[in-house]
Structure formats: structure tokens, C-alpha cells
Amino acid sequence: MDNKKHPSLEDLLKLKKAEQPDDLFWEKFDSKLQARALQTFIRQEPWYYNIASLVNKYVLSASMACGLIFMLGMALYLNLGSERNAFLSELAFPNEALLSAEELVDYAVVGNDALEKDYAVEIISIKGASEAYDFEADAISVAIGDTVDYSDAPVYASSDSLRISNQYTQLASFAF
């Protein structure tokens, strides 16, 4: 570039003055400014209003939760109380009609030291026996109601043919 033709700094800075937006820009500017100015007219709630509304919201939720917990607690308490009262009243005033003569005898038997050992032995033997059994639900025989033949053939829950052929069998398999 030829130095003689170079502009001065001041002239160059005047270029900035020549940078002007077009009319369309000002139209948009005015409409946007008008919209923003209108927004300022909308009355803003005071700062404490938001806090008050938040507090109201949480207080309402908390009070509802407390109420629910209180109601559940009361229901549980009353239920337990009634059961306990019934139990206590039964202890205090046993219904003699329910107590058969055998039971009365049993009370007497329980008090017998010699028999207590027998109870213990019985319990152990029952537990041991229960573990020995192998229950197979699918293989349990069922009676088929509407047939003359009270077959004791096993019903397989996975057998589609059997389910379709006999509704009672189907019901029985569902029951298991």
C-alpha cells in the first residue's frame, strides 16, 4: 500500500460513525423495546410473596403428611389396643365356654414336669419328617369333576392339551 494514500487514525475512526443499522433494524428494535417496556408494567410480586407462597406450599404438604401419619398411627394404635384389650380381657376373664374340659386338663398337663420332655421330643420328630417330603405340585393328582371316571392321573400344568380338553383340570392347575 502506498503510505501517502493511507488515512489518518481520526479518519479511520470516522468509519465507525458510518456504521449504521438499516431501517428494518430500527423497526424491530422499536417493537422489541415496546414489548419489553410493557413487561415492566406487569406488576411484580414483592420478594416476600414468593417466600410466603413457598412456605404455604410446604406447610400444606407437611401438614397433610403429618395428618396422614397421625391417622395411620391412630388407626394402628387403636387396632393394637383393641387386640391387646381383648387379649387382656381374655386373660382376666377367660371365656369358660371356650375352655373345654380337655383344655383344662392340658393346662394341668403342661404343669407336669415329666411330660414336658415328651413335647420336646415330638417337635423334633415332626420337623425331621417334614424335611423328608418332596412336594411336587405339578404331579399331584386331582379328581375330574364332570366325568364318571374319577381318574387320579397326574395333571401337568404345562400340558396345553390337557388344559384345553378339560376345564376342571385347567382350574386345578391354576390353583397350584
Partner: protein
């Protein structure tokens, strides 16, 4: 010769009076509009918007270097002015008051903007370009002229953005907006000496940044 001097002096004094009256009347005109707004005639504020929007946008745009940011800030300035108009007592001119709001808003924005925003530029209105610049382009073809103008704009914007906000502001108000030192000092709430000092330093910096493009 004496007569002609007297006539010339009279002419100058008349001219000064008329210029002074124009300034006073301009200030009074603004104050009258402000009072109308303060009395509830809200639509009168639009006259102030129409009057100052272009120069305020120009200052803010040259300060931020970004058109979108400048648009937002200029609108904010008018909204702030509108919201605070009841506190304006006419002790300073409306012109100084609203320019001060614009300057403070721009500086606050620049300080808040952590990262450098994309710098863009407006289309140049060639009717406003000085004769010296036009002379510089006379020998160029239309394509060359356009490319050179764009290059100059880019370099100038880059150089301005390298200055500190206060130095940039002084250059913009004095060299671009054509304000005198007193007005700038009023707007910036500083002394005229500080304005001169900042202007001198800023121009020196710009000359070093743009040494390949200026004489």
C-alpha cells in the same frame, strides 16, 4: 476593514448566542418531555427514544463490538431510564443522564462478559464516510474497495477491543460521537484532564495497533 471586523464580530456573537440558545432549548425540550412523562403521559417517552436511540446504540455497539449485545443493552438503557424517570430532577441534562446510564451499562456488561464475544460490524453508509477515506479508495475497483473497507473495519474493531473499557469509551465519545472533553467528563464523572490523558494514551495505543493501515 474596521467595519468588516465589527460585522464579523457581531455575526460571531449572534452565532454563539443562537448556538447557545439551541443548546439550552434542546435541554429544555428534553426536560419538557421528561416532565410530561413524569406527569403520566407515558407515550411522550417515545420521543426521547427516537431522539437518542441511534447515538446510544452506536456508543454501546462500539463498546461491546457485538450487534445483538448492543441491541439488548440499548433497550435496557431506555427501560432503566423510563423506570427511573421520576427520580430525574433536571439538574443535569437528560442527554448527560441517559448517556451515563448507557456508559455504565456497557462497562458493567463488558466486565461481566468473561469470554470474548464474537465481534461483528454494521454495513457502512458510504455517504457518511469522510472524504479522506473516500480518496483512499478512489483508485480501487468496487470489489477491492469492499474488501478493503471490510478489512479496515475488522482491524479497527479488533484494535478498539484491545483497549481497556475506559480508554475505549473516551475514544468512542470523542472521535466517533464528536463530543467535547467537558461533556465526556460529565458523563464519566471525571475531570477534563483525565479525559484528555486517557484520549492521548488510547490514540497512541490505536496507532501502534493499526500502524500498517494508517499514515
Amino acid at each position: 476593514m474596521k467595519i468588516s471586523k465589527t460585522i464579523a464580530n457581531e455575526f460571531i456573537s449572534d452565532a454563539k448566542k443562537s448556538v447557545g440558545n439551541a443548546i439550552v432549548s434542546n435541554r429544555d425540550l428534553d426536560w419538557a418531555i421528561v416532565q410530561r412523562v413524569q406527569n403520566g403521559e407515558v407515550s411522550a417517552f417515545n420521543q426521547l427514544v427516537q431522539k437518542y436511540r441511534q447515538s446510544l446504540f452506536s456508543i454501546i455497539y462500539n463498546m461491546t463490538g457485538n450487534r445483538e449485545d448492543a441491541t439488548d443493552i440499548t433497550q435496557e438503557v431506555f427501560i432503566k431510564a423510563f423506570q427511573s424517570i421520576n427520580r430525574f430532577r433536571g439538574q443535569a441534562s437528560f442527554y448527560t443522564w441517559i448517556y451515563r446510564i448507557a456508559v455504565n451499562s456497557s462497562i458493567t456488561f463488558i466486565k461481566k462478559a468473561k469470554k470474548q464475544r464474537f465481534i461483528n460490524y454494521e454495513t457502512i453508509d458510504e455517504t457518511l464516510v469522510s472524504s479522506e477515506i473516500l480518496e483512499y479508495f478512489t483508485a480501487k475497483t468496487k470489489t477491492e474497495k469492499g474488501a478493503l473497507l471490510t478489512e479496515l473495519q475488522e482491524k479497527l474493531n479488533e484494535a478498539l477491543q484491545k483497549l481497556s473499557p475506559k480508554h475505549r469509551l473516551v475514544v468512542i465519545l470523542h472521535e466517533v460521537e464528536g463530543m467535547n472533553h467537558k461533556s465526556i467528563a460529565d458523563i464519566m464523572k471525571t475531570s477534563e484532564g483525565t479525559v484528555r490523558s486517557r484520549l492521548h494514551y488510547a490514540k497512541k495505543m490505536l496507532q501502534s495497533f493499526l500502524q500498517d493501515y494508517i499514515s
